[in-house]
C-alpha cells in the first residue's frame, strides 16, 4: 500500500515561510493500492486532492477520526463531493447522541458553509463506526475509540502484507499514572501493535504537555513510549503544533535522536512525504 501525507499540522492551518518544510495543512493522509483510495481525515490538506484517472472505479472512501475542525475543514472543498458520477463513502465515529449525518451537517450547512450536505451532487454514503472491522477494496480496516475529547477513533489499515496505524489525535498518557506498561491498559494499543508504520500525535513538548493535560494530545516522550510499548517498526511524529516552526521541529527531532535510544526509526511527518508498506 502507498501512503502520502497531505496535511500534518495540528489544530489550525498555518502559512508561513517558517513552516514550509513540514507544511501547514491540517490532517489528511491518502492510502492507496490497486486504484482504491482511502482518505484519512478531511483537514485542510484535503483541498489539494483531485482523483481522476488513477481511480479504478468511481468510488473514494473518507475515514474520519473525529469531528474537530482541523480534521474536517477540507471536506467542503473535496472535489469528488461535487462530481455526480462519484460514489463517496464517509466513515466516522458513532456518537451516543447524534447521528453521523447530523454531526457532518453542523459543518456542511450555513453559517459555516454555503452548501448543504443534502445538496452535494455526488452519491454519498455515510457509515457509522465504533470498535469496528470492515473491508474496503484490498484493505482490512480496524477502528477503535481512543482517548481524545469527543468520540474519536484511530485506524489500523492492513493489506495482508503490512499494517499502517493512524492515530493523529491521541492522549494515551491521560491520568495520574501516565501510560501504563500493561498493553491491556493502553489506549490505541490494538491499533498500533507491531505496525509497520505508526502515524501518531506528537503535538507538545513534555514541558508544554504539563500545562495541556486533557486537551487530547501527546507530549513527545509519551509518543515515544507508546510506540516503544506497541512494538512498531517505524514512527511518524505528527500533528505538529501550529506555533512550531520548521527549525523548532527539526530541533525537537535532533534532541530525540541524541537523547533517546529506540529500537525503531522515527522522523517528523511532513507534507508530501510518501511511504510504501508491503506490496
Amino acid at each position: 500500500m502507498n501512503i502520502k501525507l497531505w496535511g500534518v499540522r495540528g489544530s489550525i492551518p498555518v502559512s508561513d515561510p517558517d513552516t514550509r518544510q513540514y507544511g501547514g495543512h491540517t490532517s489528511c493522509v491518502v492510502v492507496s493500492q490497486d486504484g482504491h483510495f482511502l482518505v484519512l481525515d478531511g483537514g485542510s490538506g484535503m483541498q489539494k486532492l483531485n482523483f481522476g484517472q488513477e481511480l479504478t472505479g468511481k468510488r473514494v472512501d473518507i475515514l474520519l477520526t473525529h469531528f474537530h475542525l482541523d480534521h474536517l475543514q477540507g471536506l467542503g472543498f473535496f472535489k469528488s463531493l461535487f462530481n455526480p458520477s462519484m460514489e463517496v463513502h464517509i466513515w466516522g465515529p458513532a456518537s451516543s447522541t447524534h447521528s453521523l449525518h447530523a454531526r457532518l451537517s453542523r459543518y456542511l450547512s450555513p453559517p459555516l458553509f454555503p452548501v448543504l450536505i443534502r445538496d452535494l451532487p455526488c452519491q454519498l454514503h455515510l457509515h457509522e463506526i465504533a470498535n469496528s472491522e470492515f473491508e474496503i477494496g484490498p484493505f482490512r480496516i480496524r477502528s477503535r475509540y481512543v482517548i481524545h475529547p469527543g468520540p474519536t477513533v484511530g485506524f489500523r489499515i492492513s493489506n495482508g502484507n503490512g499494517a499502517f496505524a493512524y492515530i493523529p489525535d491521541h492522549e494515551p498518557a491521560l491520568g495520574l499514572a501516565g501510560i501504563l506498561d500493561d498493553p491491556h491498559w493502553i489506549s490505541g494499543y490494538d491499533l498500533a501493535a507491531g505496525a509497520d508504520l505508526l502515524y501518531h500525535d506528537a503535538q507538545y513538548t513534555d514541558e508544554e504537555y504539563r500545562y495541556k493535560q486533557g486537551w487530547g494530545h501527546s507530549g513527545l516522550s509519551d509518543t515515544m513510549k507508546f510506540a516503544t510499548l506497541s512494538g512498531v517498526k517505524k514512527l511518524l511524529l505528527a500533528h505538529h503544533d501550529p506555533g512550531r516552526t520548521d527549525v523548532q521541529i527539526q530541533d525537537l527531532l535532533t534532541e530525540l535522536l541524541l537523547t533517546g535510544q529506540y529500537d525503531f526509526p522515527f522522523e517528523m511527518a511532513g507534507e508530501g512525504m510518501e511511504y510504501k508498506i508491503g506490496t
Binding site: 465515529p93 458513532a94 456518537s95 451516543s96 465504533a130 470498535n131 477503535r144 475509540y145 481512543v146 482517548i147 468520540p151 491521560l174 491520568g175 495520574l176 499514572a177 498493553p183 491491556h184 491498559w185 493502553i186 489506549s187 490505541g188 494499543y189 490494538d190 501493535a193
Partner: protein, 131 residues
C-alpha cells in the same frame, strides 16, 4: 493482546485519582483493577494479586447485614450490577482484616461505552465512620 475498552481504561485512570476505594470489573465479574484505597479492603496490592475472579474477591471481606447474617456474593451491589446491568446501592458491614467491623456503603453502576456496549462495572466504597 487486546486492550480493554477505552471507557474501562479511563475508569481506571479516574479511580487512580480518587481517595475512595474503587473496584472495576469486566462483564464476567473478574476484578481487573482496584485502586490503592481499595487495597486496604482486600488486604492485597493490585500489583501482587492481578486479576481476581468474583468467587475470590467476593469472599475476602466477609460482608454481613445489620443482623450479622452473612451476605453471599450474589447480594453485593457490584455483583447485582453485573447480573442486571443496572446501578445498585447498599449499606452493610464488613469485617476488616484486623477483625474490626466496619460499616460501609457501596454504590455500583455498569460501564456502558459510546457504542452502547456493556463493558464492565464499577463499585465505589464509602466508609461510614458514624458507626
Amino acid at each position: 493482546m487486546p486492550s480493554y475498552e477505552i471507557e474501562i481504561i479511563l475508569s481506571r485512570q479516574l479511580a487512580d485519582s480518587l481517595s475512595m476505594p474503587v473496584f472495576i470489573t469486566d462483564t464476567e465479574g473478574n476484578l481487573i483493577y482496584y485502586n490503592e484505597p481499595a487495597e486496604e479492603i482486600l488486604g492485597k496490592r493490585f500489583e501482587e494479586s492481578g486479576v481476581m475472579p468474583v468467587e475470590e474477591w467476593g469472599k475476602i471481606f466477609k460482608p454481613v447485614d445489620e443482623f450479622k447474617n452473612p451476605l453471599s456474593p450474589e447480594d453485593l451491589p457490584l455483583v447485582k450490577t453485573l447480573r442486571n446491568v443496572y446501578p445498585y446501592h447498599k449499606t452493610f458491614w464488613i469485617e476488616s482484616l484486623q477483625g474490626k467491623t466496619q460499616k460501609i456503603s457501596v454504590t455500583s453502576f455498569p460501564i456502558i461505552g459510546r457504542s452502547g456496549n456493556f463493558s464492565g462495572g464499577i463499585a465505589i466504597f464509602w466508609k461510614d465512620e458514624r458507626l
